[in-house]
Symmetry: C2
Subunit: 223 residues, 2 copies
């Protein structure tokens, strides 16, 4: 197994180098980059659809989608008029920084204000891979159960923003929102915690204002 561990360390070191290069380019371009991570079906693409509708008139948005198979998610964003590039990972359970660099070379995105990177649906593998993003966002839908921050602590500790999704389904579940809020606060005292429903629209404004504030802070920091 030592050989496997060594190989993994090499892969992570190579990823880190590529991520730092990307971070430099994004800083020079003044593009805010958000890496979205969750289980399959927590609502990453649906949150991006809602964000796009709310922000596309004022900001240049773009999206990189990571999936095992199909262009479905990219197609959903393209249908809303924003450029989207689909990365098919061929079975891998996360995106890496070199794939993101490759996507940016192919996608010919115009100078973007915000680039969303929707990672492969997975609460584990994407946690370790820096994609040059400004911050990670973890999504958790209320139908997945309130035990997830306990069972997958690493991503909740690392993500700057935790977004609870599908809050419209709260009445039909036994999800203990306060228990989740407290556990996330314990794991990640400086993180933001938002409760949203793309269906009802609850919390979407707060999420969009957070993105705008982070973009302004990044550009303020650069000026």
């Amino acid at each position: 197994m030592a050989q496997t561990v060594d190989a993994r360390q090499k892969v992570l070191a190579a990823n880190e180098a590529a991520a730092q290069e990307l971070r430099g380019s994004f800083a020079a371009a003044g593009t805010l980059v958000v890496n979205l991570i969750s289980s399959p079906g927590s609502g990453k693409t649906t949150l991006l659809e809602a964000s796009t509708r709310a922000l596309r008139a004022r900001y240049r948005l773009g999206c990189i989608e990571g999936d095992i198979a199909t262009e479905r998610d990219a197609d959903r964003l393209r249908a809303l008029g924003i450029p989207a590039h689909q990365i098919l990972t061929g079975g891998a359970c996360h995106l890496d920084a070199r794939q993101v660099r490759g996507a940016l070379e192919q996608a010919l995105f115009p100078g973007l204000d915000i680039l969303f990177i929707e990672n492969v649906g997975n609460l584990i593998c994407p946690t370790s891979y820096d994609l040059g993003e400004d911050f990670k966002v973890v999504l958790l839908s209320v139908t997945e159960g309130d035990d997830k921050p306990f069972k997958y602590p690493a991503i909740f500790a690392r993500a700057a923003v935790s977004v609870i999704t599908k809050s419209d389904l709260l009445p039909y579940t036994s999800f203990d929102l306060e228990a989740v809020r407290q556990q996330v606060a314990t794991l990640n005292p400086d993180g933001a915690f938002l409760v949203t429903s793309a269906r009802s629209g609850a919390g979407i404004d707060t999420w969009c204002r957070l993105l705008e504030a982070r973009l302004a802070a990044k550009r303020g920091g650069r000026a």
Copy 2:
């Protein structure tokens, strides 16, 4: 990357050898072994709780739980009076056959009729790892969205049984059950397809009868 691929091939070959050993022991013991795979929060533990309540009077049941962190799932099954052993993978996104062998050495399960192995919550990594099971079961909750068999085809093609969960929430979602049924049938023409709700009890009898039939077939085949 060639080195990484070689390392992965070695890991998979070692796993396969351990899995075949396990399969031999399970055949000798006449134990039916079921490997449950899904996204986090699809309801694997909840299905096992319902199965335990329905079957514990007539069968000796046991459970191996795979998680990144916490003994929560094993505790839920122990509370129902069946032996459960928790494997903590230390970050890995799937169980492997050597972990299962180690668990069986420690757990001192009595001669079991059915051993459930609840894999780490993940639709990708567990697909490639044989645990010596009789068959894999993939779960998909209706709140995860009907695109999952398209986006994660490998596990739906390999699992002998696809179990739709949380069907009580169908009225509150846009989940297209027939589209999912058709896609799973395309990927896996011989697979069983069940629609269940642990909350309402729908489909739980059918699931338990399937387990009983597979157990009887395994023992009939051995006689």
